[in-house]
Structure formats: C-alpha cells, structure tokens
C-alpha cells in the first residue's frame, strides 16, 4: 500500500493511504501513524479519498493512531471517506469517535462542519 505524507502547517500532518486498508495492509498504516507521532500536540488527518476498501483491521489502525496521538495531547481526524468507509465507520460507531470532514481543507482548518 502506498501512503503519502504532507505537512501543510506546523503540527499538522496529512496521511494519504491509497487502495485497500485491509488485514493485509493495515499494519503498515498503523506503523506509519506511530512513527509520525514524534512530538506533542500533533493533529494527523487521515485522508481516505483514495481508499476504496477499509475493513475492521483498517479501522483498528485508525483507533490505534488516535490513542497514540491522544496520549501526547494530539488528535486524529478523518477526511473524505468514500461510501464503503462511511458505512464501516457508521456501523462500528466510530463516526462518533473521530472527527470526520467532507473535505481535506475543512479537516486542516478544523472547520465546524462535521460530516456525520
């Protein structure tokens, strides 16, 4: 799985996984998130626009990332989930746990418009 990283602002990192985040590739995402948390108060935005399939292992990787960030005063947002990912987040009630944004810009600016 290819994962792109962008740093639009200080303390903000955009993580863009591509393709499937499933039992086969989720450990890579989990590891990547862990690596990125190298200072306090970070916000990581996982942009799911290019993810066409995410399973429970992928969701676990996101939860794991959120926990790591929270331990250091940071947080993890999700942007642009596709229909399959939206369903998965909703059925697992994780849409109540993550801040989910319809666009990347909103996620970066932590807009008030939460997509629920």
């Amino acid at each position: 799985m290819k994962i792109e990283i962008e740093r639009p602002q200080e303390k903000k990192i955009i993580v863009i996984p591509q393709g499937r985040v499933d039992v086969q590739t989720a450990p890579t995402l989990k590891e990547k998130l862990r690596e990125l948390v190298d200072s306090d108060g970070l916000t990581i935005i996982v942009d799911l626009q290019q993810v066409d399939f995410i399973d429970s292992s992928g969701l676990s990787a996101l939860v794991s990332g959120l926990k790591t960030l929270r331990e250091r005063g940071g947080t993890l947002h999700i942007s642009q989930p596709q229909p399959q990912a939206r369903t998965a987040l909703r059925l697992t009630l994780l849409d109540r746990v993550f801040s989910i944004f319809p666009t990347l810009d909103q996620a970066i600016n932590e807009g008030e418009l939460k997509d629920s």
Binding site: R20, D22, Q24, D55, L59, S60, V63, T87, L93
Partner: protein, 671 residues
C-alpha cells in the same frame, strides 16, 4: 631475403590472420622483415619489449592481444615475432608462435636456407593447418570414437610420425585407437606409467620401466605420451610413435601437450553435447507422446440428460498412467472408464494405450460396466503380467432410464458420492481386484440411485495422495471438505475448485503423481435460478482479498457496487476471524461458495479449525475509550441479514452469511 622464405612468411601471415583476425610481423634487430612498415604504431609496451629483448605473453591493449616472441635458437636471437589478435581469439594458437620463431630463425641462417628451412616452415605450416582442421572436425563431430580417429589421422599427417594413438578408459574398458590401425601393446602399462606425470613423457624417461616390464613398447625407437584428464579423472592418454630413436624434439613435446589439452576439452564438450542432444531427443519424443496421449482423450463428453459431467486429466510428467475414455454400450448408453496404471511416465503411458484400445474395441459389444471390465481384464492380463504391473479402473455409466449410476471397479480408489438430501458424503467401494492379477475375475456391477443435486466423483489416487511439504496427504477428508463446499456448483466449476484446493494443499510442491478427476452431478431444480461460485483459499490473511475480489467482480445487473462492497466486507471480516481463531494463523484451508440468487447473496464458509467461541458478542464501548479491536463482528452483524455459525459433526466450522437484495436494508435505514 630468400624468395621462398618471404613467400612462406607471407603465407604464415595470412594463416595467422585467418585464425585470429590479427596480424603478424617479424623483426630482425630493428629491421622489419615481414609485416607493417611503421614500428612506432605498435603499443608502447610492445616497443619496449622489442627494445629490451623481452617476451610478452598475451598483453591486452585496445581490445587486441599482443605477443612478442623471441627465438630461443642461438643463431637468431636477434629475431622477434610480434603477433596480435582480436581480444577473444588467438589464445589457443599462441603455441604456434615459438615454433614459427624457431623455424624462421633457423631459416635465416644462411647455410640452412633452402631445403631445411622449407621443411621446418612447412612443418610449422602443417601444424597451423592442423589446429585449423582440428577445430573444423570438432565442430562437426557427433561420435566420440569417429572423432578420435579423425584427430589421430590428422596428427599423423602433420607430425610425420609413424603412428599416433589415443587410449580412452570408458566404463572401466580401454579403447585404443591408432592411426595405423595396428594394436598398441601394453596400453594399460603405459597408462599407469604416465598416470602421475604432469607433462608428456618420452622414450628417454620411459625406457627403463618398459624394459623392466618386458613390454613390446620398449622395441619402439621413440615414444612420446601425454595423459588425458577428463572430468578430473586420469582416464586416457595420447602419444606419438616412431622407429627412429631421438626422433621427437621439444617442439613435439609442446605440440603433444597442447594437442592432449585440446583432445580433453573436445572429448568433454562432445560428451556434454551428446548428453544434451540425447536429452533433447527424449524431450522431443516425450512431447510427441504427450500429444498422442492427449489426443486419445474424447473430444466431447457424453451427453446424458439431467447429468452435468466434467473431466480433468493431468500427468505428473509429460505422459502418465491415468486415462479416461468414453464410448457407448451395445444398448447405446454412454459408458466411461477412468483407469490408473501402476507406475508413472512412459512405461505407464504405453500400457494406458492398451487399456484404452481394449475399452474402445469392446464397449460396443458389452451391455454393462461389469461385462466390459471383465473383457478388458481378460485382454490386458498378458501385457500387464509381462510388464509386471497392474491397473485399477472404474467402468461406469449413468442410466438415463432410472437416473442411476452403475459401475464396476477393479481395485480403484473408492469413488465419492454426495447425497444432497442428507447432506452427506458416502464412498463407493471397489467391486473387484485390480486388472492384471486374475484374467478370469468375475467383476460385478453396482448400481446407486441418484437424486437431484447428488454427485459422484471418480478420481485417481494422485488426488488424495497429493502431499504438502510436510508429507501430509490431502486424503479423503480433504477431498470431502472441498466437495462439501462446492457440491451445488456446476461440474466444471467443482473440478476447477478441486484443482485449486490441490494446489493450495501442495504449497508449491510439484505433483508427484498423475491427477484424474471425473465428476457427475445430477442437475437440481434450483440450478436455473442461482449461480454458485465455489472457492478454496489458504487460511492466510493475504488470501482474503481473492474472495473480496470475487464478490466485487459480480457487479452488474441487479448487483450494485455498494451492495457488493458491503457483502465483500462482511465476508472478509468472517474470513479474517476464521483464520485468526480457527487456525491461530497456522496452516489450514477454507472452503466456501458464493451463491447469487434472485433476491439474496449467500456465502457459506467451511473450515476444519478449532471451534469458534460462542456466543459471538458485539462490543459496545464508551466513545472516549474506543477499543483497538473487535470491529469485525460489528461490521458483519451490521452488514448482513443473517450471520450464522454452527459446528458440524464436531469437526467442521460452518458460517452462513446472507444479504437480501430486495429486502428492506435494516442498516441503511437505521439512522
């Protein structure tokens, strides 16, 4: 300079060019007597060697190889030869250069101009042409002894000796070849004398031992012999014989050593070539045999109303001992045979064609399988006995009149019968002993009534005895597991799934035995309204994707992307759960089928792992403390209309996942 000398020098120059694509020049002091006019165009290192009277052996400069050779003869120490060749040639001919240097320097002494010089140079020229012809002969040779004959004839001509011999030890036997075709006395004695010598030995060194051994060889005037070392073994020799004592010079020793080297490499390359050609020939024959055997298979499967048939045959090697054939009985019923000749490869293949021919020849005159099997047993008995082997076979037909399966089996592995109504597997035992044991054995028929959805799988033991890398066989259990999952699918899809199951079981181990599969399935009324896609996967996380892909590939008609994505996700969650819990990520196989019906999607998954702990619970959690795991079953529960688990027969896990297509989607409407 003598006209004859310059002619010969020019000839040498031409010959060197012909052999190496290079050039050749002679210097006497600073004066050039043959070759190019401008010394300053030579590489610096060559000029230095000329100035300082040094030799230069195979120095590479600008993709050329250079030699500077000085005559060792006292009379012409001022004579030097400069030769060069293309970088990839010349090396094998460089031994000619000292000979020529000597010959030319000899010729330059005034008193020797004339006859002697000519002889020396002609000798040198002949040696040159020897190597040339040598190369030519070798490139065309196909038989080792013929080649050696040609080589010694050539040597004899070139060296003006009375006889040349080559002795080779092959499989402990000595083969002696002489140019004169006279026998060589005491070849084994000579071979033992030369055995530990590095270079060639002449009569001077050998005489005492030969006299001591009272050998006939001691009577020769001169003898020169060199050892041949083949494949690291000292297993031959070659040499020259002459009646004149002291006939052989240091040049001859050098020539023999070099010729012996050549002969060794020739023999080795010829042997390799022969082995290779033999393999190629066998390979070609096997390919033809494989085509012939494949052509014996019927072009079409028999058409039996209400029965779906598929067959597969794959020899482990090019050709094999498994066959399948179809014909018709005297009553016009399609009748088939699946047979397995004990053994593999060509011997087994030859016998399959005998069984095949007998089956085809007798089928139209037989009424039923037992009849035909008895005939085959009688006719092939003698051939099998002579070959000291046996054949197991099943002869079978599907009776159109009453929908029964009738068979007679000669010691063949039990066929498998799926009883659709009872959802059970039975085995159909043999009804007699293998063919080739008793020509008069009274084989009997057995008739099994078949009902819609029932299937019979006849196969060869290459299927059940397929081994994984630990040597564990697929076995009847493995075969049954697959059929348990695949049974509602069409015959061809089941055969394909059985094959992928075999491949997964073998884990890349090559097939050691032939594989034959013949499957009959009684058509079921539900077949028309559903599509069944069976599959087998390795119980490994990276195999889950193949099932996800399979489900997603159904997009179209009444199945939209979102429905399939959701169903694929639910199925993948259960598969992941199965792999994690039933096998602990260890070895195993999951058999399954995807069924597409008018109003629903169904996945059935079967495995042989440990039982899944029940009841399966869906997590609830505090939003501020989400758990890291446990979302899989939430997803499956949320996405499916039915997600059932049961333990079957205490050995097998079964999951059934259902999603209704036109029903109310309880989840989409939940919010």
């Amino acid at each position: 300079m003598d006209g004859e000398l310059s002619d010969i020098l020019a000839e040498i120059q031409k010959a060197w060019f012909g052999l190496t694509g290079g050039g050749f020049a002679c210097f006497l002091d600073d004066r050039i007597i043959l070759g190019f006019g401008d010394r300053t165009k030579l590489p610096g290192k060559v000029q230095d060697a000329l100035d300082q009277g040094l030799a230069l052996d195979g120095f590479t400069h600008r993709r050329r190889k250079w030699w500077v050779v000085q005559s060792s003869t006292e009379a012409a120490e001022r004579l030097r030869i400069v030769a060069w060749s293309k970088a990839d040639a010349g090396e094998e001919y460089r031994l000619l250069l000292p000979t020529w240097a000597e010959a030319i320097s000899f010729g330059l002494r005034e008193e020797n101009l004339g006859k002697n010089l000519t002889e020396a140079l002609v000798g040198a020229w002949d040696r040159l042409s020897f190597f040339y012809e040598f190369t030519h002969i070798v490139s065309q040779a196909t038989d080792l002894l013929d080649l050696m004959d040609a080589v010694i004839a050539l040597l004899k001509k070139v060296i003006f000796v009375e006889d040349v011999f080559i002795v080779l030890r092959e499989d402990g036997e000595l083969h002696t070849l002489t140019a004169s075709e006279r026998s060589l006395p005491d070849a084994d004695l000579l071979l033992s004398l030369i055995e530990d010598s590095e270079g060639p030995l002449s009569m001077r060194e050998l005489k005492a031992s030969l006299v001591h051994a009272d050998s006939g060889l001691a009577a020769y005037g001169d003898l020169l012999v060199a050892r041949l070392t083949l494949d690291g073994q000292k297993n031959g020799m070659m040499g020259f014989i002459d009646t004149h004592p002291g006939r052989f010079t240091s040049n001859d020793i050098q020539l023999l050593a070099s010729a012996a080297d050549r002969v060794c490499s020739i023999i080795q390359s010829i042997r390799l070539r022969m082995i290779w050609e033999e393999r190629q020939r066998i390979e070609r024959e096997l390919e033809v045999a494989a085509r012939i055997q494949a052509s014996l298979l019927p072009d079409e499967l028999p058409e039996i109303p209400g029965v779906d048939i598929a067959v597969y045959l794959q020899p482990a090697r090019h050709v094999g001992g498994d066959i399948y054939a179809a014909s018709r009985t005297s009553e016009g019923d399609p009748i088939m045979i699946l047979a397995d000749v004990a053994g593999k490869g060509m011997p087994a293949a030859i016998l399959t064609s005998i069984v095949h021919g007998t089956f085809r020849g007798h089928a139209p005159f037989c009424e039923n399988p037992a009849d035909l099997l008895k005939k085959i047993g009688r006719y092939v008995y003698q051939d099998l006995e002579r070959a000291d082997t046996f054949v197991t076979a099943v002869v079978m037909r599907c009776l159109q009149r009453n929908g029964a399966f009738e068979y007679a089996s000669a010691g063949h592995v039990d066929a498998l019968l799926w009883r659709n109504e009872d959802r059970e597997i039975e085995f159909l035992p043999g009804t007699g002993i293998p063919l080739g044991i008793d020509p008069k054995y009274p084989y009997e028929n057995r008739t099994v009534p078949l009902h819609p959805g029932d299937l019979v799988l006849v196969y060869s033991d290459g299927v059940t005895e397929a081994e994984d890398p630990q040597g564990k066989v697929l076995g009847l259990q493995g075969l049954s597991d697959i059929i348990y999952a695949t049974h509602p699918a069409c015959a061809e899809a089941q055969i394909q799934t059985l094959l992928s199951g075999l491949e997964i079981h073998r884990q890349k181990m090559p097939a050691r035995d032939d594989v034959a599969l013949l499957l009959f399935r009684c058509i079921h009324e539900n077949d028309a309204t559903r599509t069944v896609i069976p599959f087998v996967i390795d119980a490994k996380f990276d195999a889950v994707r193949s099932v996800v892909d399979l489900i997603r590939s159904l997009e179209g008609k009444h199945l939209d992307r979102q429905l399939l994505d959701n169903f694929a996700l639910a199925t993948s969650e259960i598969l992941t759960n199965q792999i994690r819990h039933a096998f602990g990520e260890g070895m195993g196989r999951i058999q399954g089928r995807l069924v597409v019906e008018e109003d629903r999607l169904v996945t059935d998954l079967y495995d042989h792992g440990v039982p899944i702990p029940v009841p399966l619970q869906v997590n609830t959690f505090d939003d501020s403390e989400p758990p890291e795991r446990g979302y899989g079953l939430m997803l499956a529960e949320g996405l499916l209309d039915t997600c059932e688990y049961q333990r079957i027969g205490g050995t097998r896990n079964h999951w059934r996942l259902i999603k209704y297509i036109r029903g109310v989607d309880k989840n989409e409407n939940r919010n």
